[in-house]
Every structure is written in C-alpha cells, then in structure tokens.
C-alpha cells in the first residue's frame, strides 16, 4: 500500500510532471495563468462579497451580481483548478512537504464549504432582496468568511511558491 508521500513522488517523477517542471516556457505560462486567473475567479467573488458585507457595490442587487457573473467566476475557478492541477503534477513531492501548501488547501476547503452553505441557505432567497432591505446577518457573515478565506488561499499560495525547495 503506497503512502500519500510516495504517490506524490510518483506524480512528480512522472513524464508529464517532469516535462512541465523542466520546461522553459510551459511552466511559466501555466503559472502566469494561475496567478492572473485570480482576477477572474477570486476577483469577481470579491465584488459579490463586498455587496454582501455592505462594503460596496450598492448599485447592483446581490442576486444580479451572483447570477450575471456566475458563468465568469465558475470559468475562472475551472481555470484555477486546471492550472493548479498541472502545477501540482510538476511539484507534487515538494508540495507534500510544504506546510504552507497544506494551509492553502485547508482554506480552499473552508472557502468551498462556505460557498456551498451560501448556495443552499441563501441563493433561493436572493431574489427577494431588493435594494432597500438589509441583508440577513448570515449572508453578511458568509461574505466575510469568503473574503477572509480567499485572502488566506492567496496568501498561503504565494508563501508556498516563495518557500518551495
């Protein structure tokens, strides 16, 4: 029975993993799309969160932000998963040994759970929130949780790249 560490070694040593890691252009390009994909994924979610928390975006209704931008942030997150998966393929063993990467994954899960909670509890009610009603405190809390967990994902992500040996 292979340990998780051995599996990560196997992934990193694979032909594709090695090819990505040792490439002149492919790795930088994948990494660039991963970092800049932040704008389309986390960057759009931030605007929804600003609305939910009441910090900004007052001229747009929460339901409009959510539904009009959904295709974009879903696409953004798919891009992040694909580029992230390829980056992991190239450096799986090092990432296994990285404590900051584990924290990134923890906060990714928290962000995901928060999104799922919001989807089931509040999305059905969103169409009733007009510009004048104050949003439920649970929705505001979900907005803050989203802002904090995505900031943590970004922070630990950058810190991981910095410390990867």
């Amino acid at each position: 029975m292979l340990s998780l560490y051995q599996i990560c070694q196997f992934i990193e040593d694979s032909q594709i993993g090695t090819a990505i890691r040792e490439s002149q252009i492919v790795f930088p390009v994948i990494e660039s799309f991963h970092v800049l994909g932040l704008a389309v994924s986390a960057g759009t979610i931030v605007l929804l969160d600003l609305r939910l928390t009441g910090l900004g975006m007052q001229r747009v209704l929460p339901a409009q932000l959510m539904h009009r931008l959904k295709a974009w942030y879903i696409t953004g997150f798919i891009l992040m998963m694909i580029t992230g998966g390829l980056l992991f393929w190239a450096e799986a063993e090092k990432l296994y040994r990285s404590p900051t990467f584990r924290w990134k994954l923890v906060f990714l899960v928290i962000a995901g759970l928060n999104a799922a909670y919001y989807e089931f509890k509040y999305v059905p009610k969103m169409n009733h929130w007009d510009g004048n009603t104050s949003l439920p405190s649970g929705a505001k809390l979900a907005g803050w949780c989203s802002l904090i967990s995505w900031a943590a994902v970004i922070g630990f992500g950058r810190w991981t790249a910095y410390g990867l040996k």
Binding site: E31, L38, A39, T44, L47, R59
Partner: protein
C-alpha cells in the same frame, strides 16, 4: 536619460537593506501586492466585461463604473505602494530586466487610460463603439502588466 544612478541609489538605500535583511518582509509585501492585484484586475475585468456587453447588464455602464472605481483605486494604491518597496529591494536586478521595463511601460499606459477613459465613464454613458474599444484596450493593457510582471521572475 540614464536612470542607472537612481536604481543604484535605491538598491543601496536603508529601505532596501531592511527588506532584504528580513526573512519574511519580501514575501509579505508580495502577498499584499497580490491582494491589490486581485482587487485591481478583478474590478477592472468586471467593468470591461460590461463594456463588452456582458456581465452586469442590468446596470448602465456609468453605474458599474461608479461602483467599481473606488475599489480599482484601492487596488491600484496597494500595488503601487507595495510595488515601490519591492522594486527598491531588487532595484539592481530590475534595472537589467527586460520584462520589468515592458511592465512599467504598459503600467504607465494602463494608468493613463484608466484615469482618462474610466473617469469619463462615471460621468456619461459611452457609445457602443467606444465601449467596445475601451473594454478591449483596458483588458489588454492591464493583463499585459500582469503577464509582464510574472515574466520578471522567469527571464
């Protein structure tokens, strides 16, 4: 105009030495630079998406521009403040860097464009053609800055 003495001076400055001597300062600055970038590019992307006819179609372009511009400015302030300190700590390396030069040129163009065009949007609704052109130029310039920035680390 020879900027080499400026870069040398920055590289030897007390600020540069403090940042370089610290184990965590540079990484922390980069993280905050990324937060600013997310806010800056995220808000601009949503505005440009609207200019191209997509995204938040229930609002006029002016309304979106009014809501988004404060956040674009906060993002911009953040990347500039952190960027200045980061650049100071690596001034000698950046002086030799082709991607950094390209990034700065694109940045100057992007900021000029945003301050003129985007400001105009908050005051009046653009024509269809102006909106399309503006959205495309804005996206190309700002993502150009982003890609050039990433290239600094690799080339």
């Amino acid at each position: 105009m020879n900027l080499h003495p400026v870069f040398l001076w920055l590289d030897h400055s007390a600020l540069a030495n403090v940042v370089r001597a610290s184990t965590w300062a540079f990484a922390a600055l980069e993280v905050i630079h990324l937060f600013g970038l997310t806010l800056l590019l995220g808000s601009i992307s949503v505005l440009d998406l609207r200019l191209l006819g997509g995204g938040l179609r229930d609002q006029t372009i002016s309304e979106i521009a009014l809501d988004i511009t404060p956040w674009t400015m906060i993002g911009l302030g953040t990347v500039v403040a952190t960027g200045l300190v980061l650049a100071t700590a690596e001034a000698n390396r950046l002086y030799e860097s082709g991607p950094f030069l390209i990034k700065m040129i694109l940045f100057a163009l992007a900021v000029t464009f945003t301050f003129t065009f985007q400001r105009g949007l908050t005051k009046s609704e653009p024509t269809h053609g102006a909106a399309l052109r503006g959205g495309i130029i804005s996206l190309l310039l700002w993502f150009g800055v982003g890609f050039a920035g990433r290239a600094i680390a690799f080339f």
